[in-house]
Symmetry: C2
Subunit: 768 residues, 2 copies
């Protein structure tokens, strides 16, 4: 068992690692050459242009201004300075609400830690008549924890009261946060500019009709049943083939640009290229002409394909985006049932155009339910039996196996150090690869389930990942053994034995989890801000692949926050904090440091780096709330089990009240706040409609909505051929800036050019 | 253990009892004096008039036509003859769908029984190498059951396959029935005449406003947010005091009528009455004048009270019935969220006026959730700990206790036979009283939970009663001991032990349940048709209390089917049938006889006796479906436990598939059909609106809806003062006939006067 000194040493090492990362970040971010890695958001916004354009050659790559190095933690206050409303404008509501998860961590655990250190730690520490149990050794940490209290002591009353206080505090914080987030969401939706999805409903499972096309059917149906409100609609095409063609054309255009650039720089020699495999063999031809002809050919193909898609009734999927004259009409249609058969004409609020997952729009209802069943079973198997195939792979991937397959490597492998390295490394590698691939696997499973928007897919994957972590990391660490062994044990144990079994081992695992928090939490967050992987990849791409300015922009692409895997990991810390708050309060400061560090780092990243792919308006909050409640209930049940092994039997009925109240609290919150995340209130819709009508009585909404929900590939295809019409441009402009859009048209948002607010880019540039 | 002969004897006795009941019924129903007990529905419909009016004096009371006695089972085919659509017209959809529950029982168990007797019984019977277990004795019935198969026999495969076949068959039947009932409901709703609830939405939790009254607030809100659709509204008054006054006035009117009648018959002597306690003492006054003055006084009081209610803003509850111009508008409002705060302006489909439970309309949202929590805890305690107070009462209610309280009874009690009778009788009486009161207690609990319609209250009580029966009758009979002891045992047993514990004792309890089916099922149903209690009460009332024709009608009141306690009892038979179908198929014929008898009897009762208080359009079907699914899953788990004790371990994974598939099937059905019972599709609403608009373009809907949702007490009050206006009369006419309405206006429905269909009343009259 680890002593306080051991923990101190581990903490020191991890703090050093974290500081090293932060210093490295502070140095690297000041180098102009890395500017696009650490401030891509500002590039995408169009506020910042390449610092490599001016100054001496060396200064293009290295920052020689030494004074700027002195303020190497300067980014921290800067990250905290931007006020929340401006941040919503800058990065969208999703990111801001995501940050609030870390904030909740602080709000929960700082008062808890203070209280626990003021009350519980003295109570645990001052206990003198320790029951010296020969089986369990006591370390210093155990002297601070509940383990130090002997069986059936009266001191357990303190822990009991604390459990009540902590539960009430958690519920209070959760309630307040839910209230704030819900009103933020409603305010965000209310203050949004006109957006196509406000007027649009996604209709699925349009029934087949022998006499009418899908488009006619949709039009007739809504003309009849939403007579006064229906405006227009857009059918959904199956455009996977066209997608491929357009993608290929893009590549070709890139190559042409590259050679054109080359030729412009050195007009003496026209670049040539070989037509064969990878440009290595075959006939040599003029590169610019070659790619031009290729592009023309693909353009024609794509145009034919596009026309074919639009003509062929088979390529029209039984789904449509139906737009209404008013937001009220759309809100009504999205919330009501259309026909007698509730599996036909399914209507739901349309995701914003960027958020649509086009491939899943055509899945029929019965298939959907079957898919859900298959994935539920598959996920269960994955969670509890994933060790079986991995163990199998591990048994194959040994030295003898490799020697059999690639005998010529034998002499190398047989070298002592290499052999031992492989032997130590191989067994873990299959598991490591699996864990790295896991979020992707879960996302594929969610896609198979048939959700129609990227945001829903991410939320679903996050739920799955959370369950996986709960079973395999939390329970797996406490009760050693694979998940399957646990399952087997749980089935063979009685219902009141299970919390006991876990409860007993909880205090013993405190030191393990403290180390886990430091290694996975602290160092992980410090690594997050360093962005080592994107840094390396950007420079590699920049050196080898980037041919044109467009390529550089693509190489710079910072991506979104990975909600599907990041959020479940945060939840693990909530679980640890709540479980150990009463049992071993010594763990709380480590969690607080994690949340504080993570909050600052992610605030910085959201301001400077990440560029969200879509905006769901914090639709994920009910999930976050629900998972913290789950953690709370788990902590209560484990405390119950632990205290019952401590013979504090009187506490059982008192502790049983807690989960009941917590579940009731959850249901109350659900009915009180969840509708704000699912439905769109008619009053709000009517208010916006009235306001808009007063402001712009002559608005041509039909033109505005005309191309909003066209499959992106049609737009791409037309974009490159410069066929875009104004209606489409206009409608995209109003969205929160995206990759595609900001790349297409880079007008600088007025707000960030004006000097009214001292926004980050100025600060960041000052430092250069 | 009972042998086949024992069961045969018990069956014979019970069959004799049932036949005795049926014969008694056949004789009693032919007596004219009982006509109002056995055919009240026809009186209420106005098709049948008292047979006591004509013929000789004796023939008024006794039927002397001997030939009619010969056809003493003639009511059975007559009961089956009325076709379903006509039955819907006659008794409403609720009753018809209620009958379908019995029909499902037949559809499920007849094929199951045939298959089980063709396959399982021979397999069980022909097994020769019986493992002679010394602990368990084998009876003949056990030779037919799964008990006859030795451990780890290959013959269990047959039971496994049967479990699959039975599950598939059950799911198939349930799916088909759900489909039929859903379409019946939608067809019923679509073919209904114009009804106020089609245009009306119940709005609750209207927020308080210092500047406006509730009525103004509602009007403004809906004028803004449902501009094109809002028509009118009706606020809800707190009229409990007025209710009491009106009730008292009614009594007085009754007395006046009685004395008036007396005076008319014998004009020589004006009737007199004493004004004191119960008319036994006090001053003697002229009865007619006395009651007239009393009535006038109460009338004035009621009128003042009514005006006060309408003036005092405190007596207006924050709820309203809001009516719309179109069904479409109402459907939209009922299905959407109105404001940002989902706990304000709650809208739901208005129950039909008769179905409203007025007292609960004003409960605020937070109070509702607290009430749910309280009732959930209370119900848990009631289910598992109800034996504790009863045991306490039993310990008090012994001979010594009685002798202490009423010492003068001592000599009587001490007589040998009386003493032993009391000793045998007393311990059971507390339990018996509790069980009789249970449905009432559960209904009170449901009322406390705050549901706003009678139909919802009945559904909720039925759910509670089902759980109570499941725990205390089914599990309580299998594992002897109180529910609390079971709970304790289950907590201390491992999850896979529980189905085993129950599974093992399942085959041993078969004979007990067969007896239970015969006593509770067969005899109970035969007793139902005899209507012994209503018969006695009617004659007692008729003899002692009935003063006027109105009183006689009230004494005749047949009531509704008691869904809240009858449906859960049927579910118990489904559970028994599904559990024993594989284990002891010998039980199935008994259940089939129950279902067949019950179907015929209840069809007869629905045609001739019961008069539903409200019409919910079979809104209870999702509950029925869900409970049969629960029974199916319980049966699968118990079979799993049973087979695992039989060492047929290979079967476990195969059997585990069944509950997973069943749960999936349930979810599929839920999403496929349940919306039909909760929401009203816009297409249907639009269709009815369009049709109506074409037929009656000049309909004055506002006048039609004016008084539809006025608190019934205002109507009652006005009725008796003959203040009723035409709007109200008209709107009540369109409902399915009710007690109040049919009493008020008794025009004979044209359908039952025409000779087009040979309906029951003709047949019933022929027999007289």
């Amino acid at each position: 068992m680890a002593t306080l000194a051991d923990i101190g040493l581990a903490a020191a090492i991890n703090i050093l690692v974290a500081i090293a990362f932060l210093v490295a970040f502070a140095i690297l971010r000041l180098q102009p050459i890395n500017d696009r890695v650490y401030f891509p958001k500002w590039y995408l916004k169009g506020v910042r242009s390449s610092p490599t354009c001016s100054g001496a050659f060396v200064r293009k790559f290295v920052n020689l201004n030494l004074s700027s190095y002195l303020r190497f933690l300067g980014w921290m206050p800067a990250a905290l300075r931007m006020p929340e409303p401006e941040l919503i404008n800058h990065a969208g509501l999703d990111s801001v609400v995501y940050l609030r998860i870390y904030l909740i961590g602080l709000k929960l655990f700082v008062p808890m830690a203070i209280l626990a250190f003021a009350v519980l730690v003295p109570i645990n520490w001052t206990n003198t008549d320790t029951l010296k149990n020969s089986e369990v050794e006591f370390s210093n940490i155990d002297k601070l924890s509940i383990s130090n209290i002997p069986l059936s002591s009266q001191r357990f009353w303190a822990h009991l009261v604390m459990a009540y206080i902590f539960t009430s505090w958690t519920c209070y914080v959760l309630f307040k946060e839910y209230e704030i987030v819900a009103s933020m969401r409603l305010h965000f939706l209310a203050s949004e500019k006109r957006r196509p999805d406000q007027f649009t409903v996604l209709v699925r499972n349009v029934p087949p009709d022998p006499d009418e096309s899908v488009s006619e059917l949709v039009e007739h149906f809504f003309l009849v049943n939403h007579r006064d409100h229906y405006l227009t609609h857009q059918v959904v095409y199956n455009a996977n083939k066209l997608s491929k063609l357009v993608k290929k054309k893009k590549q070709m255009q890139n190559w042409r640009d590259y050679y054109q650039l080359k030729y412009d720089k050195d007009p003496s020699k026209r670049p040539a290229v070989k037509t064969g495999f990878l440009g290595l063999c075959g006939e040599k031809v003029d590169a610019i002409d070659f790619y031009k002809s290729k592009i023309d050919e693909l353009s024609k193909k794509a145009t034919t394909e596009q026309e074919m898609i639009k003509k062929d009734p088979k390529s029209i999927m039984p789904a449509a985006f139906v737009s209404f004259r008013t937001r009220w009409g759309a809100a009504v249609c999205a919330q009501t049932q259309q026909t007698r058969n509730p599996t036909l004409w399914l209507t739901e609020w349309a995701p914003e155009p960027r958020d649509v997952y086009w491939q899943n729009l055509a899945i029929p209802f019965v298939s959907l339910t079957v898919r859900r069943l298959i994935i539920a079973v598959a996920f269960f198997v994955l969670t509890f039996f994933f060790m079986i195939p991995i163990a199998f792979v591990q048994s194959l991937a040994n030295i003898e196996g490799i020697e059999k397959v690639v005998p010529f490597l034998k002499p190398v492998i047989e070298v002592g150090t290499i052999k031992s390295f492989i032997q130590g490394f191989l067994p873990g590698i299959a598991l490591k690869i699996f864990l790295i691939l896991l979020p992707t696997i879960l996302m594929l499973m969610s896609k198979f389930e048939g959700f129609t928007s990227l945001s829903a897919l991410e939320r679903r994957s996050a739920s799955k990942y959370y369950l996986f972590l709960l079973v395999n990391v939390f329970l797996g660490s406490i009760i050693t053994g694979t998940a399957f062994q646990q399952l087997n044990r749980f089935i063979h144990q009685s219902a009141n034995e299970i919390p006991r079994t876990i409860g007993v081992s909880i205090p013993q695992k405190a030191t393990f989890f403290i180390t886990y928090i430091m290694v996975d939490g602290w160092a992980g967050i410090a690594g997050e801000i360093l962005r080592l992987k994107p840094l390396i990849i950007y420079h590699l791409k920049n050196f080898f692949l980037v041919k044109t300015e467009k390529d550089r922009e693509e190489a710079m692409d910072p991506g979104s926050i990975d909600f599907a895997s990041a959020e479940p990991k945060i939840q693990l810390y909530f679980l640890l904090g709540l479980v150990y708050a009463v049992v071993t309060p010594f763990l709380l400061p480590f969690i607080i440091i994690f949340f504080a560090l993570a909050f600052v780092v992610f605030r910085h990243q959201i301001i400077n780096v990440y560029n969200q792919e879509y905006e769901s308006g914090a639709a994920f909050w009910p999930d976050v709330h629900c998972r913290i409640i789950t953690a709370l209930i788990i902590s209560q049940l484990l405390l119950l089990g632990l205290l019952s092994t401590k013979h504090a039997v009187n506490s059982t009925p008192l502790l049983l009240v807690l989960p009941v109240l917590t579940i009731w609290f959850h249901r109350f919150c659900k009915s009180r706040f969840e509708p704000a995340f699912v439905k769109y209130p008619l009053q709000e819709a009517m208010m916006k409609d009235t306001l808009e009508h007063a402001r712009e009585p002559n608005l041509d909404l039909r033109a505005y909505l005309l191309n909003a929900y066209v499959h992106p590939v049609f737009k791409d295809h037309e974009d490159h051929d410069s066929f875009t019409d104004d209606g489409e441009q206009e409608c995209e402009n109003v969205l929160v800036p995206t990759k595609r859009q900001s790349r297409k048209n880079t007008p600088v948002p007025s707000k960030y050019n004006g000097s009214s607010s001292p926004s980050l880019p100025d600060i960041a540039k000052e430092e250069l």
